[in-house]
Assembly symmetry: D2
Homo-oligomer: 304 residues x 4
């Protein structure tokens, strides 16, 4: 498959369309990005790289980091993890709090903020130095020693993080947060602050397209069975209230972030990252979703 | 792959476990079934049949028929279909009515009862003789002239169908039902009444594993693109509030019915049907889900 | 107290203000009314009548009829009534269906449509000729043989009554409707169709200001204890999602209807009816509420 | 009216019935109380005192303090108060968070925890020394210099106050909390910690039975109009999800607390306080409600 040609076609087609949507601005740092940035990178499991646009420029990966929180927490807790967080899609945002109440403080899935906060709590209980150890785990998965938290963004998250503070306290009232509220939030805000390029993202997540192994060095990140399960959770829960639309139009497991990035994988074939800061009404990158839809249409590579 | 050996192993393993759950009894007809029935049939896209247990015995397919309503409605309406029904998972049952109210009478997906009732309404508007024409469409897809409605079950559904009557009236108050309430319900209750065996079900749905073509006679049932999209909707919405669990444990697009049947497909490879009447708390066949989990584990055939 | 002077002042003050709001138009018959009509009538427990404006003109009392359904059903069922309907305010309309689901088909109070439909069901079970007998009961309470159903409005209600049909079917699925859906709805639509003038309304409801006795003929309509309880339900549930606002501004038990009428009582003193067809966003008569607020302010006659 | 005889009868009748319910134990301090305590005190607007049982013993008034928060905030803010908190009953607890979300962080009424937290925030913005000034205000209203916060209980509240912390943060995310989260919570937990006897409570709230004036010294606490409005809010919102039941059975405006106390007023006549620690399922004192029901039945003193 001539992926380079396909990426070039996609970039050309998307240049012709109006760049609809809004850059996330709930924290000032995110609002400063150039809204017309566009990058895309595809990395095959046999180490071929294809890219177009601003694919080497770093951006705030935000919720995409939840994939790595989940991977490490699943590795450490095994099936016991599911006693504290579910694997079901959540329906509308509107219902998120009432569902948390109805289900006694157990978030429906690990990619909701509530779910990721529980993952943070679990990692804090399990690890002696959670911030450093998660960073090390990501560096190993990516084969990239240059992954770091961004204190400026983490601080900006903290200053406006009232809803996340509400969520942690609410879950703590149900007993589903074991550590200090402040410690959980600090870990969470740091995780959301990581900045990576499209190229780096594809390296970080390639193991999910390769049955749990990083093909670059044959190092196993997670078991084959767990790798499939993480993919299934991405498929059903990776795009807020638009998971169905993404499955319908793109047909790959993936995860988006409000920084405008999306990572997706075609098991056995490739990981692909795209970045375009303007978000649609559901909070997913407008051009990013279009780019991935064009990719799977042109290459007939939906998992369905 | 020696699927026959795998099916035999599955049947043997499941015989050893307790048959948990309850047979659906909301209509008397369903409650009469022998709870210990178990059948499974796998049909590859190159026409090889494998089976075990009561795979030739007919049972009430119930909601599995919604797959064919969706296929025909999508074929007739194309993308306009999505103005009247969504493609997103629904979250808990508990929220179904409030979501319908919140979203102005537009059901979140075609596999909710509300969604299937809208499909019925669309088919009634589009077809001159909807009951006969849908039957013909199913017969063609299955290569099986012996598919029929079961008036006894349809009548039993009608007599206890107060919730479905509530749903149709509620949606009509929003303008999302165009035809007479009684006509829509009659069509719907008939569609739920169809009885098929596991073998017949795999034939009926094989086109979804074969890019929209019935491989038996090379007849196209629906376009390749639409076939993928139906699979994506099955993946995200096919198991009530357990879609995530099914994706997580089984990893195939599929659809269950309260008669205890499940159909699933591995694109490019096979369709598989399983039947065991006892349902778990979420309304899906307890042993049926276990059987499919064993199948994809033993054959490493999850789509993820 | 010179009530006549007070009513004249109220009418004069209200003439000066903009007539905000919208006439109910969900059935065509209601939409035909002159939006600038305004009438008010006050009847003391010692038989003095005071009136202003269009107080002799009949209008559709709509939900105000629920007060009489409740009175008769409470008389017939006694405390057993509360097994099938509650006495709590309902919160936002938005939650009405989910609450009905959460509380297993038991409406939160008798003045919700769902609650009034249960009252109809109870009256049908209890009475040999419910339509005639309720009419007779109202005629007795009012001392007015000229109270009748309006078939034209009842039919108009029926033609657009999809939500009420949904509610009855939904409650029947929980077992809280015992009679045929069509029979319940027919009774309900007829009850909503009654037309009375402000003068007639004050006569109909005077017993609620007089401890359950019609002072005109000393006939007991309901026990003193039950009369107080009906007043308490009107106070807490009589104004849709604006009961708090009405209690806060007016301070009398009362009930409104979408025809623009409101009845209220000051126990021991008077009943008062007001009519102005334009409704505020919560569905209560805009000028009607203002008029009653002026009344209790000028006469210092809030129950609080 | 021989209130002393009535109180004695009530105490005798209640001694004969089983003391159903549970003492609140969400903070350890509350759980230590003797569950069989029972006290009742009635104070008329012309200064006659009647009492029975443990009416001189202090208990934790908890949410009853919200009445005084509301009185002072209403006095300071006038009608602008209602831009930040509503006057409508809230429906089931179950919906409280989703309603807060649906209504953009505006609590439905001042007696919900969320509403009282907004009152605290308002008082903090308005007063130079809010803790001292509210205490002074309560002392003045009660004519009792011996009203104090209980640091032991306030601290106990703080240690388990995760839900209240969640609520404040959630409302702050909507902009409806202006001050620091910690400061608002500290004020709130102190207000909930006040301990008073039944006798003291009747003195504190007598102004609500006397058109806003403390009859003991003719000092005006709040205007007549505002006094009526506070009563109307107590009537509709004073008993969690049991306001309708209380209005129905007792028929007086009032407010309960999880310490087992209830205050109620009959405008123009008396204030009455009752204390019995065991709570029914809705969180209101079981014997306290029974006692007040007997009081208004025996004395025919419902406001309806």
């Amino acid at each position: 498959m001539d992926y380079q040609k396909v990426l070039a076609e996609i970039a050309a087609e998307l240049q012709g369309i109006e760049n609809i949507g809004k850059v996330a601005a709930y924290i000032p740092e995110l609002g400063k990005v150039d809204p017309d940035k566009f990058g895309m990178h595809l990395l095959t499991t046999d180490h071929r790289h294809y890219s177009v646009g601003d694919s080497e420029e770093r951006f705030s990966i935000q919720s995409i980091a939840k994939v790595m929180m989940l991977t490490l927490a699943f590795e450490l807790e095994d099936e016991k993890l599911w006693e504290r967080v579910g694997v079901e899609p959540s329906g509308t945002n509107f219902n998120s709090l009432v569902q948390l109440e109805y289900e006694n403080g157990i978030p429906r899935n690990p990619f909701l903020n509530a779910g990721a906060l529980v993952l943070c709590d679990i990692l804090i209980s399990r690890l002696s130095n959670p911030k450093q150890q998660l960073l090390d785990y990501m560096r190993k998965a990516a084969g990239n020693p240059d992954i770091n938290y961004c204190p400026r963004i983490a601080e900006s998250e903290r200053l406006t993080g009232f809803r996340n503070t509400a969520l942690v306290n609410f879950m703590k009232s149900f007993g589903n947060i074991k550590n200090e509220v402040e410690v959980v939030l600090d870990f969470y805000f740091n995780l959301c602050s990581i900045e990576l390029s499209c190229r780096e993202l594809t390296q970080l997540c390639l193991f999910l397209a390769a049955d749990g192994v990083n093909p670059a060095n044959s190092e196993r990140i997670i078991s084959s069975r767990k790798s499939k399960r993480i993919n299934s959770i991405m498929q059903l829960c990776g795009f807020y209230d638009e998971a169905g639309e993404f499955a319908f139009r793109v047909g790959l497991p993936g995860k988006s972030g409000v920084g405008g990035g999306i990572i997706a994988v075609l098991p056995g074939e490739y990981s692909v990252a795209v970045w375009s800061p303007k978000l649609n009404q559901k909070g997913n990158s407008y051009k990013g979703m279009r780019a991935l839809e064009l990719l799977t249409t042109k290459t007939k590579s939906s998992i369905f």
